[in-house]
């Protein structure tokens, strides 16, 4: 059995009167794709922002790769990559320049950053237009792929993917799936959030369903499905709706 690469214990985070994360605990094994699912406002993105050292938790312990979030945040930054929900790139620069820039910020040398940028762009099927066009001239799917390629700069051991396939065509989505599977095969640990349950079912070894800042269910997709019926007949989306309800969320 693989060791836990991420351990989260009793995590809390509030913004004024709103409790965004309310006592969340989970662990992710090394090389595992772990899905964090939940309706809008469930606390998924806040959890990712805490784990990726952007905001501090109010309470709780987080260990990533053996480093304590509270005490060794800078070491954690050296082993993580993040692909945020919103496109976080420089639209007036080429894809290649974006990757090289973030590679340099991740601590790579100029030569390493260039080599890795080319490798990542090739993997994402973007090499042809990588140097010629500014990113703002790219299609939505291409921008998403650049967003993911940037996250891979610096050879992270843990990758946070916050809805990486939102609003893109099936081809780009498929490319991202293939890339994620390839990264897992190389031993990368991935924390994945998505609203597409089919996607989570296909990619994730385990999922946790969050609602109102709490984890309300956790396990393999098969195990969760079997709690509500025949796993071959029921979908993860149906399980999700049974657990989180059908009321609309803000």
């Amino acid at each position: 059995m693989a060791e836990n690469f991420v351990v989260v214990r009793d995590l809390y985070k509030s913004f004024k009167d709103v409790i965004a994360v309310n006592g969340v605990s989970f662990s992710i094994e090394e090389g595992e794709i772990f899905g964090l699912l939940g309706p809008n406002g469930a606390g998924k993105t806040t959890t990712i922002r805490i784990l990726s050292t952007v905001i501090p938790p109010d309470k709780g312990d987080v260990i990533i790769g053996g480093y304590s979030l509270q005490k060794e945040a800078n070491n954690i930054r050296g082993i993580i990559g993040i692909c945020p929900q919103e496109l976080a790139l420089y639209p007036d620069m080429s894809a290649f320049d974006n990757l090289v820039f973030f590679g340099r910020m991740a601590g790579l040398s100029s030569q390493e950053a260039r080599e890795q940028a080319i490798a990542n762009l090739e993997m994402m099927g973007l090499l042809e237009r990588a140097k010629k066009s500014r990113v703002d001239k790219f299609s939505g799917g291409m921008k998403r792929r650049v967003n993911l390629a940037i996250a891979l700069m610096g050879h992270p051991r843990l990758l946070f993917l916050d809805e990486p396939t939102i609003g893109i065509d099936p081809q780009s989505r498929n490319n991202i799936y293939e890339t994620i599977k390839g990264l897992q095969a190389k031993g990368m640990t991935i924390l994945y959030t998505t609203h597409y349950m089919e996607e989570a079912d296909k990619l994730c070894q385990r999922v946790a369903i969050m609602d109102s800042g709490k984890i309300v269910a956790m396990g393999t997709p098969e195990a969760l499905k079997s709690q509500f019926g025949d796993p071959d007949k029921i979908t993860l989306e149906e399980v999700f709706l049974k657990i989180t309800g059908r009321s609309l969320r803000d």
Partner: protein, 408 residues
């Protein structure tokens, strides 16, 4: 350190690559300068209109006063009604009116003291002050003449000379005095005309560098909005490294902008010596760095791009106003004291010192005065401008009788 330089380099390359941004930031200051030069450069000689409310039409001394006034080059006279004057003053259409009161000529003829009246908004504005000076000069000349006649009449009162003959004789002497005056004013010209480039270039340069405060602030806020700031925070980049990188980039940007403008001024107008040009570069660098720092502070405080824009615009306008870039600021006033806190005050003065005196950096240190004076316009302008309204004017007076024929 490498990360800082890489951030700065990325920003500068982005600036240089964006042709629209580049051309606006460089062409706009040149265009604005050309506009100001066109508007003021060719007409620094005074040109204005004196608005007169004439309540004594056809009077002998009224006509004489108006004739004297109209003899001033560049000054045109416009007679308006009292009601129209009130309305125009109330609407700020005009800043000052000279009123000739009823019985003006009759009083002077009979040796009674009389007054011209200035009606003005505030200090009457720069033009109003100049016109006030010209009005005083015209009134003064009439007053002197009347006084001379009165003194001669007194002196020869018992000899039995006719009144008319006295007046004719005195008039003859006055004409002679005008033809060959005892006291004259000589003029020494420095340059062939007042130099608008010297006056306006520093203001235009510093104003545009200050506009970059907004760009610096925007850059930080944009970084936050795009999510790249958050992404950068997940790398090992320190927030201080990011700030310093941005600071260097926008300092360089401001410096490049200033350098091109100053180089253009050097090449076209020949206003620098090689030494003063290099010194101006150093001043430009320091000023760009100061502006960039302020932009970073605004960018850190503002939560949205709109907030950053408004704070930066407010700050820029405040600095431009306080420094007297285009409008005079009186040294002793509250604004004058506040101007000591305006970046532009120091930059403008430093540039002006370098341009007008061709001086070294040492000559620019410790300067915190203004290029403008509220009373006399630009201090480097040729002398001869009038005194401030409201200040006591040294009118001629008779020791014998204290008679002041014409006052204001």
């Amino acid at each position: 350190m490498k990360k800082i330089l890489f951030i700065a380099l990325k920003e500068v390359i982005s600036f240089l690559r964006d042709k629209g941004d580049l051309s606006f930031s460089l062409v706009l200051p040149i265009a604005i300068f050309a506009l100001i030069y066109g508007a003021f450069g060719s007409s620094l000689q005074f040109s204005g209109t004196a608005y007169i409310v004439n309540e004594d039409p056809g009077g002998r001394y009224t006509d004489l006063f108006l004739q004297r006034l109209s003899e001033n080059p560049g000054l045109s006279l416009m007679q308006i009604s009292a009601a129209s004057a009130e309305r125009k003053l109330a609407r700020s259409d005009i800043q000052m009116v000279v009123e000739i009161p009823p019985g003006f000529s009759e009083n002077l003829k009979n040796g009674r003291s009389t007054s011209l009246i200035f009606k003005q908004r505030g200090n009457g504005g720069t033009d109003g002050q100049i016109i006030a000076g010209l009005v005083r000069a015209a009134a003064d000349s009439i007053s002197r003449e009347l006084l001379a006649v009165a003194q001669v009449k007194d002196a020869v009162a018992n000899i039995g000379i006719e009144q008319q003959q006295i007046e004719m004789t005195v008039q003859k002497f006055l004409v002679e005095e005008q033809t060959s005056p005892v006291l004259t004013i000589g003029e020494t010209l420095t340059g062939d005309r007042p130099e608008p480039v010297n006056q306006f270039l520093p203001g235009v340069v510093t104003m545009f560098v200050l506009f970059s405060v907004n760009l610096t602030a925007q850059a930080l806020v944009e970084e936050r909005r795009k999510g790249t700031l958050e992404r950068l925070l997940t790398t090992r980049l320190k927030i201080s490294e990011l700030f310093i990188g941005k600071f260097l980039a926008y300092t360089m940007r401001g410096f490049i902008q200033t350098m091109i403008l100053l180089a253009l001024a050097y090449a076209v107008f020949r206003i620098f010596t090689p030494v003063s040009f290099l010194a101006a570069m150093v001043v430009a660098l320091v000023f760009a760095a100061a502006a960039s720092s302020i932009g970073i502070i605004i960018g850190s405080l503002a939560r949205t791009e709109n907030q950053a824009t408004w704070i930066a615009v407010f700050f820029t306008m405040l600095m431009v106003t306080l420094s007297g870039t285009f409008m005079p600021v009186s040294e002793g006033s509250l604004l004058g004291r506040l101007s000591k806190f305006a970046l532009n005050t120091y930059a403008n003065d430093a540039f002006r010192t370098l341009i007008t005196e061709g001086g070294s950096l040492l000559a620019t240190s410790g300067i915190a005065g203004h290029g403008w004076s509220s009373c006399s316009g630009y201090v480097d302008q040729p002398a001869g401008l009038p005194r401030c309204p409201g200040r006591e004017v040294g009118w001629i007076s008779s020791e014998r009788s204290g008679f002041l024929p014409l006052t204001i």
